[in-house]
């Protein structure tokens, strides 16, 4: 990403848009590779894809500074890529290799890279919300110019910690952005069986903070909304809630047998695929060749990364000293 101008800007430049487009394609390709690897039986455990939702994680992280912290969920690939993590090391982690970001300890759902401000996927639904809130607290108390962004799902929005975090963040004017990625499902259950209201951004009013609903399939709209909320947070005016509406095109995870999403819904949302939408704008502005080159390069990068990651070695086990419950073993005398 090109360095940001000193003043917060609320719309991406065309170069920034192209870079976000590239990242969406990288994410899509990375998940295609994972899908194939899963079919081939070389993955372990569940994998949650964000097909069709790439604009949310990529657009949001695109509007942040490198030093800003982001937390995400079990479905965090777009955020990992958006925060600048390398596909090779993401894939290696998901495949349980020594070369993965966390040496195979984390796996698919817990990837973190503190140097990138990528403060973790999180497989406890809702946990990304107080996590970002705490990071915003630390920035505020230490007087550091960084904000935190929590991404979380419509299912997570029903957890008590979501409400508690928003209350505390608003009360203390913490520099945090709550980005609710509403993909209509929590696991296999439709949002209408989980939430008492259809529009979740309205809950912001209960905490005296701004709330808005945006098109989560429009990467530029996501960038703009997050840029505004981030600027507000940086100014010391406190948190915001952004509800990005999108749709999960794949099943819940690789273990999902599916069948509960309607064909009409799928077709309707496929027509609004975030990469297709973004491509149309970019082709208009930059010409088809430039855009296609970027897409091709992105796919090649990921393919090469997947191949390399698969050849990487599995990690060797090392006991974790700080967890040892017995003093003589850890501390000596």
């Amino acid at each position: 990403m090109t360095p940001k101008p000193a003043l917060p800007h609320n719309s991406p430049s065309i170069d920034e848009h192209l870079e976000m487009h590239r990242r969406m394609v990288v994410t899509r390709e990375l998940e295609r590779q994972l899908g194939a690897l899963h079919k081939a039986g070389v993955t372990r455990g569940p994998i949650h894809r964000c097909d069709g939702q790439e604009a949310v994680g990529v657009g949001a992280t695109g509007a942040l500074e490198d030093r800003d912290c982001v937390t995400t969920t079990h479905r965090g690939h777009a955020v990992y890529i958006g925060k600048g993590l390398a596909p090779r090391r993401i894939l290696a982690e998901i495949l349980g290799r020594e070369t993965g970001y966390n040496g195979g300890r984390a796996g698919h759902m817990l990837i973190g890279s503190p140097v990138h401000g990528m403060m973790g996927g999180n497989a406890i639904v809702g946990a990304s919300i107080p996590a970002a809130t705490g990071m915003a607290l630390s920035a505020q108390v230490l007087g550091e110019d960084r904000i935190a962004l929590a991404t979380f799902g419509d299912g997570a929005a029903q957890t008590g910690i979501c409400h508690e975090s928003m209350n505390i963040a608003a009360l203390w004017k913490l520099p945090v952005v709550f980005l609710l990625e509403h993909n209509e499902y929590g696991l296999t259950a439709h949002a209408s069986t989980q939430s008492s209201v259809a529009d979740l951004y309205i809950r912001a009013a209960g905490h005296g903070m701004p709330g808005e609903q945006i098109d989560g399939n429009d990467v530029v709209a996501v960038f703009q909304a997050v840029a505004r909320a981030a600027a507000r947070a940086r100014r010391g005016d406190g948190p915001s809630l952004i509800e990005a509406r999108t749709y999960r095109m794949e099943g819940f995870s690789t273990s999902d047998v599916g069948g509960y999403q309607s064909d009409e819904d799928l077709a309707r949302w496929r027509a609004r695929d975030p990469i297709t939408l973004s491509r149309a704008v970019l082709v208009e502005a930059l010409g088809e060749d430039r855009v296609m080159d970027v897409e091709r390069a992105a796919a090649e990068t990921v393919a090469a990364a997947a191949e390399a990651a698969q050849a990487d070695p599995p990690p060797h086990f090392v006991p974790h000293a700080p967890s040892d419950p017995r003093a003589f073993a850890t501390e000596g005398r």
Binding site: R44, M109, V125, T188, T193, H316, F317, D324, P325
Partner: protein, 323 residues
């Protein structure tokens, strides 16, 4: 006598209990339309309608609702998808269910069940692979069961639903697809009674949940070296069948206690302390404790297998006990 999968046996228990008693109510995330992520409640929504409900992701409140609904006539069966999420239910258990069961004890009953599943070995990562047995086994007024066989899965779940006190049912993700015979008339299995999974005379392998399977494999290996291992499947973690433990240890004079939760301050520690108190004089060697290494469960296979105990680890412990 039918061959059933463990998950099917649980399903059969739920179906029977719901048929017999209209106050049995099933709820949890994805349990209704989808039939549960492990398919334990498959078909029940169709059969029992609104008595089977999908819920929001609100474990803390769901558990508290199970407690209070049970005091007012319902028999709720709540599914908590992973044992890793049980910490979210602990206030409801230790500060509500436990307390009210005592302070109002004579005036109410608390017939609710929480089903959950724990255990590692499938690459689900540190937040989806734990066995937090000791958190619940520690709490006064609760019962805790951990079936290993399909027959016990059915029988213990039936007994849990019938019990007037709270019962936590700890299932295991690696047992759902195991198959075995379940008698057609399999009724409730009494809570608080261990099962001798295999008779033996040299060493007692006292295990819970899927560790019983590993202990049986260890017993096979020990048999090859001419060592006769008894395998005790505790089935109920609380109340503990101390008599069965003492009987076995008095016979073998050597014990290995095995539980898939962490060792430190874990359920295996309780087993060791119980033997200390009730069978010290019977012991020819210290009890060996086998548990998951005291550290988070890593994702990669090469790491996870180093952390969760298996037949090798149990065999080695038995040999140490006998050395």
């Amino acid at each position: 006598m039918a061959i059933m999968r463990y998950a099917e046996a649980l399903n059969a228990a739920l179906r029977e209990a719901m048929t017999a008693d209209p106050s049995v109510f099933l709820f949890g995330e994805d349990v209704a339309d989808y039939g549960g992520v492990f398919k334990v409640s498959r078909g029940l929504r169709e059969a029992f309608g609104d008595r089977v409900r999908d819920t929001p992701i609100s474990e803390q409140t769901l558990a508290a609702m199970a407690v209070s609904a049970s005091m007012t006539g319902l028999r709720p069966v709540l599914e908590i998808m992973y044992a890793d999420f049980m910490p979210l239910t602990l206030d409801a258990l230790v500060n509500q269910a436990s307390v009210y069961g005592y302070v109002w004890g004579d005036e109410i009953t608390l017939p609710f069940v929480i089903r959950t599943q724990g255990g590692g070995g499938l690459g689900t990562g540190a937040q989806h692979a734990k066995s937090l047995d000791s958190f619940v086994a520690h709490i006064p007024g609760l019962k805790v069961v951990a079936p290993v066989t399909p027959a016990d899965a059915k029988g213990l779940l039936l007994a849990a639903i019938q019990d007037p006190h709270p019962v936590i049912v700890l299932e295991h993700k690696r047992l759902y697809n195991t198959r075995a015979e379940v008698p057609d008339d399999q009724g409730p299995v009494p809570l608080g009674r261990a099962r001798v999974a295999r008779d033996g005379s040299d060493v007692s392998l006292i295990a819970t949940s899927r560790m019983v399977v590993e202990a049986e494999a260890a017993a096979d290996r020990l048999a090859e070296s001419g060592i006769s291992a008894e395998v005790l499947d505790l089935r109920t973690l609380r109340p503990l069948d101390v008599e069965a433990i003492v009987r076995s240890v008095a016979k073998t004079r050597h014990a290995v206690v095995i539980n898939e939760d962490w060792g430190f301050c874990g359920y295996a520690a309780e087993l060791s302390a119980t033997i200390m108190e009730h069978a010290f004089d019977d012991l020819d060697a210290p009890v060996e404790r086998v548990a998951t290494r005291d550290m988070p469960i890593p994702f990669a296979e090469s790491l996870e297998t180093a952390v969760i105990p298996d037949a090798d680890v149990i065999t080695a412990a038995a040999l140490r006990a006998l050395a």
